[in-house]
Symmetry: C2
Subunit: 350 residues, 2 copies
């Protein structure tokens, strides 16, 4: 039996199954438990479903407290939800049992953005039980916040921050496409915004508050705009077909103000087949200050693979951290631990 | 009197004076002491020399232990040297007096690269006296190591790492130009490499060992090449004039091998007036893996301003850290603390 870090994965969707696969192949990690709110169908085989090597001991737990008692994980990675309110239920059970938690729920990236009360409650619970909890992901959690903060660190002074992420929604399934309004008419897109069916990007307020807190800026208000990206050509994915004049995606933008002045602008147009109209995907950060810093890359850092990787790669940082609630800006940067994960880093560091 | 973080600056050269100026203007920081190995000339006024606002209480200390006793700094920033052996003398005195230290000495970025024994001695001393010590800078310390490590964190797997930094030496003075062989004939450049007068970039082994340690890679050997950059046109700065056919800079490259395979390649051509031959400056990182990540920017992150900024911006991270010796990859990323530095961060974080 392996003496590696015992990892529980919560959620067996696209993200959770990717995380489980990476954990099962990384030296020094052991996939100790799988939890999901849903049960497997009679016809479903867990390892086949997740494309994991066959393991008769691996079962899908639906009772979290019982699963923790049975499998005694060192750390759990949560990939079951997006909202803080939903995440808090499972995270609290894990913390109460002394299990460190890494969550990819978008609102966990900076929980105080949606609820300072819930953030404080999680922090207190973690401290009380000697456990650590971190919110992470590619966006929020890395591209439009952690990288921005790191680059601010080479500046003497900053006037404003502008960051954009142009990405391709083509690999995503129906639920993501629906939240971006892909395939709708312009009128249905507007109506979807009203009903909350079209949401655009989920995480701007988290990224903005993370940046502002780390730079010592007070944000007086955040303005968000969601505009339909109308295609002039036919665009197609396995899940949707979009005729000219219809919606290929959502251009979501957020601007944060201090003293009436825009200081943080985050821009995130998401669409299927951007190349159909010659649009290059990529990430771009510009910090206007002393000095002005520009850094970017094409194509964009992939959201799916990137989120799976960063969640697993943060395991050693979380295991080493003192108890409490953390954001990505409060811990050392993630690193691809290709030579094996260790249970603790500090001892024998040098 | 301010109740800010009391900062001592060691070194009143270009870097030290820049750091002192930034400390003196940042809310929440107080420039408490200035130390240098040399004394002021009879004609020299300290604040004039450093372009600081007049402050009759600010003197230049030459006795470090006495300066610590008199000024009781919370943290000291060292900008007096490049080599670990030199840095260790002052850093040890500071640690023994319980003062946290941020050093921009190149070899302090990853001290175990040049001397595992000295690294362990500093770590032990810091732990013994409850103090923290960090090596930082733009390169080594940020562009060709910390950013590389952070980007590795979004990868499932990595085959190789390639990073380059093309910069402009025009702003630098005679001592830097000399270490790069600027103005020499090709023959004199070769001779300078032999005598050690021409050194190229100082910090490749630190960056490579920092990356490798964080990725869990074992490095079997590092090969370094230093080639003269011969100009085809006349190039000129206030300090040097270079005729066609002579040396405008040094193209320094390092390749690290694992199992006979090159896994980390760092490329750093440094020259005056690169634009004279149409060369664009910039930083570029490519991680070949799953996924492949490319990130870069033009022009390069400026080495001078950037090093001043990152040293000061790491103050809150160092004050918050547990005692010991740290690299930039072992602490949270720097952030431009524009809204005031605090003595401790953890309490009241949420």
């Amino acid at each position: 039996m392996s003496s590696g870090v015992r990892v529980m994965v919560l959620g067996i969707g696209q993200m959770g199954s990717g995380i489980a696969r990476l954990v099962s192949t990384r030296e020094g990690l052991e996939l100790a438990a799988l939890f999901d709110r849903r049960s497997l169908g009679a016809e479903e085989n867990l390892c086949d479903l997740l494309e994991l090597p066959p393991d008769p001991e691996l079962i899908l737990d639906n009772d979290l407290a019982e699963a923790i008692r049975r499998t005694r994980p060192d750390v759990a990675i949560q990939a079951t939800c997006s909202r803080l309110e939903d995440a808090q239920v499972e995270v609290s059970i894990l913390l109460e049992n002394g299990v460190d938690v890494i969550s990819i729920a978008e609102q966990m990236a900076w929980p105080a953005a949606s609820s300072p009360e819930r953030a404080r409650a999680l922090d207190r619970l973690a401290l009380e039980h000697g456990a650590t909890v971190l919110g992470t992901g590619i966006n929020p959690g890395f591209v439009l916040d952690l990288l921005v903060i790191a680059l601010s660190g080479v500046c003497l002074d900053i006037q404003s921050i502008h960051a954009s992420r142009v990405n391709d929604l083509s690999p995503y399934g129906p639920s993501v496409l629906q939240t971006q309004g892909v395939g709708l008419s312009p009128e249905a897109f507007r109506a979807g915004l009203e009903t909350g069916e079209v949401v655009g990007h989920f995480g701007f307020t988290e990224s903005i508050h993370m940046i502002a807190a780390n730079l010592g800026w007070d944000i007086e208000r955040i303005e968000q705009q969601r505009e339909p990206i109308l295609t002039t050509v036919h665009r197609q994915t396995p899940f949707v077909s979009v005729a000219p004049g219809q919606v290929a995606g959502c251009h979501h933008r957020a601007v944060a103000y201090q003293d009436g002045r825009p200081i943080i602008t985050l821009d995130h147009p998401q669409q299927i087949n951007p190349e159909a109209e010659g649009i290059e995907t990529g990430d771009q950060i510009e910090i206007r200050g002393t000095p002005t810093i520009r850094l970017g890359g094409r194509p964009e850092i992939p959201g799916g693979q990137g989120t799976v990787a960063v969640a697993v790669n943060m395991i050693p940082r979380v295991l080493d951290a003192a108890p409490g609630l953390y954001s990505m800006a409060d811990l050392p940067v993630p690193a691809a631990m290709l030579g094996g994960h260790r249970k603790g880093r500090r001892s024998g560091l040098w």
